[in-house]
C-alpha cells in the first residue's frame, strides 16, 4: 500500500499484454479506483489510531492530577444579551467527579456538581456591598437549589467535558464527542470536539454545546470555546493555575 505507483504500473503491463487496448485501459482504471478506496480506508484507520494516540498524548499531562483549581475569565455571548457578558472566577476539579465553578464577578455564584447532584449557590445580598468582603464564602453564598443531574443533562455534559480534560480521560471524551486535533503556531494544539448526534445520554435539544474548541499550550489548557446549536457561545480563558495536587 505504500508503493502505489509500481503496483499500478504492473497492473498496466499485465493487462496490456493480455487484453486488447481498450479493455486493458478499463481494467487499469478499475484497479486504481479499488486501490484508492482500500487505501483510504486503511489510511483512515491509521489516521484514527494516530488521532487517538495524539489525544492521549495531549491529555497525558493531566492524567496524574488529583485536584486542580484554575482562575478563568469568561466572555458569554447570547441572543438574549445586548452585549457579551464578562465573568471571572475559578474552576476547580477534584478526581473523580467533583466540579466547581465559582463566579466572582459580576455576581458571586457557585455551581457545584458532584456525582449526580447539582447545587447552585447564589450570593446573599444584604444591601451592604462591603459586607461581602468580610464574610466567608459559606456565609455569603446560600444554597438556592439542589437538582438531579439527570434532569439537567446539559450540566452533566459540562461535568463530563471537564472530567475528560482535567483528568486526562481520553476514553470519556471519545465516548461523547467526535474530535479532531490540529497543530497551531507557537506550540499550540487545537482540539475540536463535536457532540455525537446519536448519543442517548445527551439529547441534542439538551446539549449545551454543538462544538467545543480547546487550545492547549505547553501542557496546559489555555482556552475553551463552546458554541451551541442555538447561537450561544462561551469563551473561557484560563489565566492561572491557582492550586494543583497530583496523585502520589
Amino acid at each position: 500500500m505504500r508503493c502505489p505507483i509500481p503496483i499500478i504500473g504492473i497492473i498496466f503491463m499485465i493487462s496490456g499484454m493480455i487484453f486488447p487496448k481498450r479493455q486493458a485501459l478499463l481494467i487499469a482504471t478499475l484497479s486504481i479506483l479499488c486501490y484508492l478506496f482500500i487505501a483510504q480506508h486503511c489510511f483512515a484507520d491509521n489516521s484514527q489510531d494516530l488521532q487517538t494516540s495524539a489525544l492521549k498524548k495531549l491529555l497525558e499531562p493531566f492524567s496524574s492530577i488529583q485536584y486542580v483549581k484554575l482562575a478563568y475569565e469568561e466572555k458569554r455571548y447570547s441572543v438574549f444579551l445586548k452585549h457579551p457578558r464578562q465573568f471571572s472566577g475559578y474552576i476547580a476539579f477534584t478526581r473523580p467527579d467533583q466540579f466547581i465553578k465559582q463566579i466572582e464577578t459580576p455576581n458571586r455564584k457557585k455551581l457545584h456538581i458532584q456525582s449526580d447532584r447539582l447545587n447552585i449557590y447564589t450570593d446573599q445580598q444584604d444591601g451592604n456591598q462591603n459586607s461581602q468582603k468580610t464574610t466567608s464564602l459559606q456565609k455569603a453564598i446560600s444554597l438556592q437549589k439542589t437538582m438531579s443531574l439527570d434532569d439537567y443533562p446539559q450540566f452533566r455534559q459540562l461535568q463530563t467535558l471537564f472530567a475528560g480534560l482535567l483528568l486526562g480521560d481520553a476514553a470519556t471524551l471519545t465516548q461523547y464527542y467526535h474530535y479532531d486535533i490540529q497543530s497551531l503556531p507557537d506550540e499550540k494544539v487545537l482540539l475540536t470536539l463535536r457532540t455525537r448526534s446519536n448519543d442517548a445520554f445527551i439529547d441534542k435539544q439538551q446539549s449545551i454545546s454543538g462544538k467545543i474548541t480547546i487550545i492547549f499550550q505547553a501542557g496546559e489548557i489555555k482556552t475553551i470555546t463552546m458554541a451551541s446549536f442555538g447561537g450561544e457561545k462561551s469563551e473561557l480563558s484560563f489565566t492561572a493555575v491557582l492550586e494543583k495536587e497530583v496523585i502520589q
Binding site: 438531579s148 449545551i208 463552546m226 442555538g230
Partner: protein
C-alpha cells in the same frame, strides 16, 4: 332390511331426535360461544347516576388500565449505591422498551423527557390555562422572571432552554407542569424511587380497556418478558426482584384462579362421583350413561344463556357446572329403581319404572324450577343468567331421563333380581332400615327453631357487607398492591363529587364554581386535596376572561423595554414571547372535543387525566326529576372530582350540602354496600316469593295441609340450619349463599318427595320406600361429592357455594329421614 331399519328408527326416534338436537347445540356453541369475565356484569343495570358512574369506572375507567411496576434489590443487598444506579438504568431501559411496544398510552418513571416537555396543544394555550394570570403579568413578577433568567444565562443554554426562555420567560409552562404532576416522588439518577431508595418505580397505563382481559394479558406478558430480557442482557437475573401489580393484574389473577380451581374441582369431583357411582351400581355402562344427561344439562344450559344474552359469564359457567350435583339425581333415581325394585315382569320395565317415579321427579323438578325462576326475574343480569342456566340444565336432564333414557334399551343392563347379593345396595339399605328413635323427630323439629332464634339474635353479622371478601385475589397480593400504591403516592379513591350535564362546557363551568368551596374544605382540613378536569382545561368562558386580561403586543413591548432598560438582557430576544401572548389573545379557546376525541388525543399524562375526569357516559339513565319515570337511553357528560385525604363527617358538612344541587357526593364504600344491600334484598324477596310458590305446589300435590308439613319442613329446616351453621363458622351471607340456598330448598324437596310418596300401581309393587330411600342416599352422597369439592376451594365464591350446598343437602336429608321415618 329397509323395514327393519324403519322399525328400528321408529323405536328409537326420540334418541335420534335428541342426538340431532345435541349436534345443533354443539354447532351453535362452536360458532357463538363468547365467555365474558367482566365482573361489572353482576352489577345492577337499571341504576341511578351514581351507579352508572361506578359501572363506567369498572368497565372503562382509567384506573383499570394502570400497571404499577417496581424493580428492587433483594433485601440482603449490600452495595446500595451501585444497586441504585443499576436499578435506575434498568428502569430507563424498561421504560423505553415499553414505549416502543406501542401498547401503552403512558409510561412514566420520573424521567424528564425533552420530547415530552412541550405538550401540545396545552403549551400553546398556557396563558389561558394559567390560574395566576394577573400576577404573572405584573411588573414585579416580570422583573423577577428576568432576573432569574439572567442568572441562568450565566451558564450556557441548551436549545430547549433557549426556546423556553424566548417564548416563556415567566416560566409559566414549567410551573403548570409542576402543578399538574401529582407524583412528587424522590428521584435518583433521574427516575422515581421509593422513600428508602430500595425500589425504583414505573407507572404504566395500557391502551386497552380495563375489561379487555385478553389484551391486558398480552400487556402483562410484554412487561414481564421485557423485564426478564433486560435482566438477562444486563446479567442481573438473580440480582434484582420485580413486582407488577394493578387492577389488570388482579383481574387476570382472578380469572386464572377461578379457571384453575374450576378445572381441578371439576376433575376431582367428577372422578370421585364416577367412582362412587361405579361402586354402587357395579356397572361401568351405568356410570357412563349417567354422565350423558349431566353433559346434556350443561350443553343445554350454555346454549340457552347464549341464545338469550349472546354471551355467558365465567361465573355462570362455574355455577352451572355445580348443577350437576342436582341433575345427577334424575338418572340415579331411575337406575336405582330400575335395578333394585323387584318385579315379576321384564317387558317394558324401563318405561314402567319411569312412569311410576316420574310424578315425584316432576314435582321435584317443578319446585326446583320455581325456586330458580325467582332469580331469572331479577334486575341483575348476572343472577338472571345463573337462573336461566340452572333451569334449562335441570329441565334438559329431567326430560332426557324421562323420555330418552328409558328408550336406550340396547344399552340398559339387566336388573338385579337378587338384591341381597348386591353388597353396596345391601350396605346402604341396612343404614336406612335401622329404626329411628322417637326423639329424633322431636330434634328435627326443635333444632331448626333454635337455629331461627340464633339467626335473629345475630343479625348484625348476618350479611356480608365487604365486597372485597368475595375477591379471589389472595390477601398478600392485595397488601403488596397497597404498599406499592402508597410508595407511589397514589391517592386512595373513596370519595368523589359527580357532575353530569349535556355539555362539557357546562360541567367545566360548574366545576369552576365549586372550586372555591373545595378550597374552603381544604383550608378547614376536611380534605387534603382534590382534582378536576377544569384544572387542566378551564371552561371556554374562563379562557375568554383570561384572554381579555392579557396585555396587548404594544403594551407588553413597552413594558419589556422599560423593565429591561438597565438590564443586560435585550428586549428583542423576547419577540417570541410577545408573539405568543398576542396569539393567545386572539386564538379560539381550547375546547374539550379535540382533547377527548380518540382521533386527536395525545399520549401525554394531561390528556390521560382529562379523559379520566371528564367523559361521555352512555347509559340507561332514569332522570329523577321528570314526572314520568320512563328510562331514557342518552349520552351524558360526566365529570368526576376525586377528593383526597377526606376526614370523617364530610357527608354532613354544610359545604357539601351547599353544592348538592350541582354535584352528587359519591362514597364508594357506602355506595358499594348499598348496592350489595339492594342486591341482597331483591334476592331475599325473590327467595321468599319462590318459597311461597313452592309451598303452594306442594300443597296442591299433597292435597292435605297435614301432609304438607313433612314435605315442607325438611327444606325449611335445612335452610335455617344451614344459615345458622354458616354464622357459627364465622361466615356472613353473600348473594352467592342466597342463590345456593335455593338449590338447598330444591334438594330438600326432592328428598322429602321421594321419602313421602310411596305408590302402588295395579297389582304390582312398583315402588318400595326402601328403594326410594336408598336412591335418596345415593343422590345425597353424589351431591356431597360435587359440592364438597367446591367447599375445599380457596376462592371465596366457590367455597360459599360448596359449604352452603353441602351443609344444606345433609341437613335436608337428615330432617327428611327423621320427620318421615316411622319408628
Amino acid at each position: 332390511m329397509k323395514s327393519l331399519l324403519l322399525s328400528f328408527f321408529k323405536q328409537h326416534k326420540l334418541v335420534y331426535l335428541w342426538l340431532i338436537l345435541c349436534l345443533l347445540m354443539l354447532l351453535y356453541l362452536y360458532g357463538s360461544l363468547r365467555v365474558q369475565s367482566d365482573i361489572s356484569f353482576f352489577l345492577p343495570q337499571d341504576n341511578s347516576e351514581i351507579d352508572s358512574v361506578m359501572q363506567q369506572q369498572l368497565q372503562k375507567g382509567e384506573a383499570g388500565k394502570i400497571f404499577l411496576i417496581a424493580l428492587q434489590t433483594p433485601a440482603d443487598s449490600r452495595q446500595e449505591t451501585t444497586a441504585t444506579q443499576t436499578l435506575a438504568k434498568l428502569n430507563k431501559i424498561l421504560a423505553a422498551r415499553l414505549q416502543q411496544s406501542q401498547q401503552f398510552s403512558l409510561v412514566e418513571n420520573g424521567q424528564v423527557q425533552v420530547s415530552s416537555l412541550i405538550i401540545e396543544p396545552f403549551y400553546r394555550y398556557r396563558y389561558l390555562l394559567n390560574d395566576n394570570q394577573q400576577q404573572s403579568f405584573s411588573n414585579d413578577h416580570l422583573a423577577n422572571s428576568f432576573i432569574q433568567l439572567l442568572q441562568r444565562i450565566e451558564f450556557m443554554l441548551s436549545p430547549m432552554e433557549q426556546k423556553l426562555f424566548a417564548e416563556d420567560p415567566q416560566m409559566i409552562w414549567p410551573s403548570l407542569l409542576k402543578q399538574w404532576q401529582t407524583q412528587q416522588l424522590p428521584k435518583h439518577h433521574g427516575v422515581w424511587f421509593d422513600q428508602q431508595a430500595r425500589q425504583t418505580l414505573l407507572f404504566v397505563k395500557s391502551k386497552a380497556d380495563a375489561y379487555d382481559l385478553e389484551q391486558q394479558y398480552q400487556n402483562l406478558e410484554i412487561i414481564n418478558s421485557n423485564i426478564k430480557q433486560i435482566m438477562l442482557e444486563q446479567q442481573l437475573t438473580n440480582a434484582i426482584d420485580y413486582l407488577v401489580t394493578g387492577a389488570p393484574v388482579f383481574a387476570l389473577e382472578s380469572k386464572k384462579a377461578i379457571s384453575k380451581q374450576i378445572q381441578i374441582i371439576s376433575v376431582l369431583a367428577s372422578c370421585t362421583l364416577m367412582l362412587f357411582l361405579y361402586w354402587f351400581f357395579r356397572s361401568l355402562k351405568i356410570m357412563l350413561i349417567i354422565a350423558v344427561p349431566l353433559a346434556f344439562a350443561i350443553l343445554t344450559g350454555m346454549t340457552a344463556v347464549i341464545l338469550l344474552d349472546g354471551f355467558i359469564h365465567g361465573i355462570s359457567i362455574a355455577f352451572g357446572i355445580t348443577i350437576i350435583g342436582v341433575a345427577v339425581d334424575y338418572p340415579v333415581h331411575f337406575f336405582s329403581h330400575y335395578l333394585f325394585l323387584p318385579s315379576q315382569s321384564t317387558h317394558n320395565r324401563s318405561t314402567t319404572i319411569m312412569q311410576s317415579i316420574w310424578p315425584m321427579m316432576r314435582l321435584g323438578l317443578i319446585t326446583t324450577i320455581i325456586g330458580f325462576s325467582a332469580i331469572t326475574l331479577s334486575d341483575f343480569s348476572g343472577l338472571r343468567q345463573l337462573g336461566i342456566f340452572a333451569i334449562s340444565g335441570l329441565l334438559a336432564a329431567a326430560l332426557f331421563t324421562r323420555w330418552v333414557l328409558p328408550r336406550f334399551k340396547i344399552v340398559l343392563p339387566e336388573h338385579h333380581n337378587t338384591l341381597d347379593n348386591h353388597s353396596a345396595y345391601a350396605f346402604i339399605q341396612k343404614i336406612v332400615q335401622r329404626p329411628a328413635a322417637p326423639s329424633l323427630r322431636l330434634i328435627a323439629i326443635i333444632l331448626p327453631v333454635l337455629a331461627l332464634v340464633y339467626i335473629l339474635f345475630n343479625q348484625t353479622h348476618l350479611w356480608q357487607e365487604d365486597l372485597s371478601a368475595l375477591s379471589p385475589v389472595p390477601q398478600w397480593q392485595k397488601q403488596q398492591d397497597f404498599q406499592l400504591r402508597k410508595a407511589m403516592g397514589l391517592p386512595e379513591l373513596r370519595y368523589a363529587l359527580i357532575l353530569q350535564g349535556q355539555s362539557t362546557e357546562a360541567l367545566l363551568q360548574r366545576s369552576e364554581q365549586i372550586k372555591s368551596q373545595l378550597e374552603k374544605l381544604k383550608q378547614q382540613g376536611i380534605i387534603s386535596g382534590y382534582d378536576m378536569a377544569a384544572r387542566y382545561l378551564p371552561s371556554i368562558k374562563q379562557q375568554q376572561t383570561r384572554q381579555q386580561g392579557l396585555p396587548s403586543s404594544s403594551e407588553l413591548k413597552q413594558r419589556l423595554e422599560t423593565l429591561l432598560d438597565n438590564s443586560p438582557l435585550q428586549p428583542s430576544a423576547f419577540s417570541p414571547f410577545i408573539d405568543a401572548v398576542n396569539n393567545s389573545r386572539q386564538m379560539t379557546p381550547l375546547s374539550s372535543e379535540g382533547i377527548l376525541s380518540d382521533a386527536q388525543s395525545g399520549q401525554s399524562f394531561i390528556h390521560g387525566k382529562i379523559k379520566t375526569l371528564l367523559y361521555l357516559q352512555q347509559s340507561e339513565y332514569r332522570p329523577e326529576h321528570q314526572q314520568a319515570p320512563e328510562q331514557q337511553s342518552l349520552a351524558v357528560w360526566t365529570a368526576i372530582i376525586p377528593l383526597h385525604g377526606v376526614q370523617h363527617g364530610i357527608t354532613d358538612h354544610e359545604i357539601i350540602h351547599s353544592i348538592s344541587n350541582q354535584a352528587s357526593l359519591l362514597d364508594l364504600k357506602t355506595q358499594t354496600q348499598a348496592m350489595l344491600a339492594d342486591y341482597r334484598n331483591e334476592a331475599l324477596l325473590w327467595f321468599f316469593c319462590g318459597s311461597m310458590l313452592i309451598l303452594l305446589v306442594l300443597f296442591a300435590a299433597s292435597r292435605r295441609l297435614i301432609s304438607l308439613l313433612p314435605l315442607a319442613w325438611p327444606f325449611i329446616g335445612a335452610v335455617l340450619l344451614t344459615i345458622a351453621s354458616l354464622l357459627l363458622m364465622g361466615y356472613s351471607l353473600s348473594i352467592f349463599h342466597l342463590v345456593t340456598l335455593l338449590l338447598v330448598a330444591g334438594l330438600g324437596i326432592d328428598y322429602s318427595i321421594f321419602s313421602f310418596f310411596p305408590r302402588q300401581q295395579g297389582n304390582e309393587v312398583t315402588q318400595l320406600p326402601e328403594v326410594a330411600r336408598v336412591s335418596v342416599i345415593i343422590c345425597l352422597i353424589s351431591t356431597l361429592i360435587m359440592f364438597g369439592a367446591l367447599a375445599l376451594s380457596e376462592l371465596p365464591v366457590l367455597k360459599a357455594i360448596g359449604i352452603t350446598a353441602s351443609l344444606g343437602a345433609l341437613y335436608a336429608f337428615l330432617l327428611t329421614l327423621f320427620v318421615t321415618k316411622q319408628a
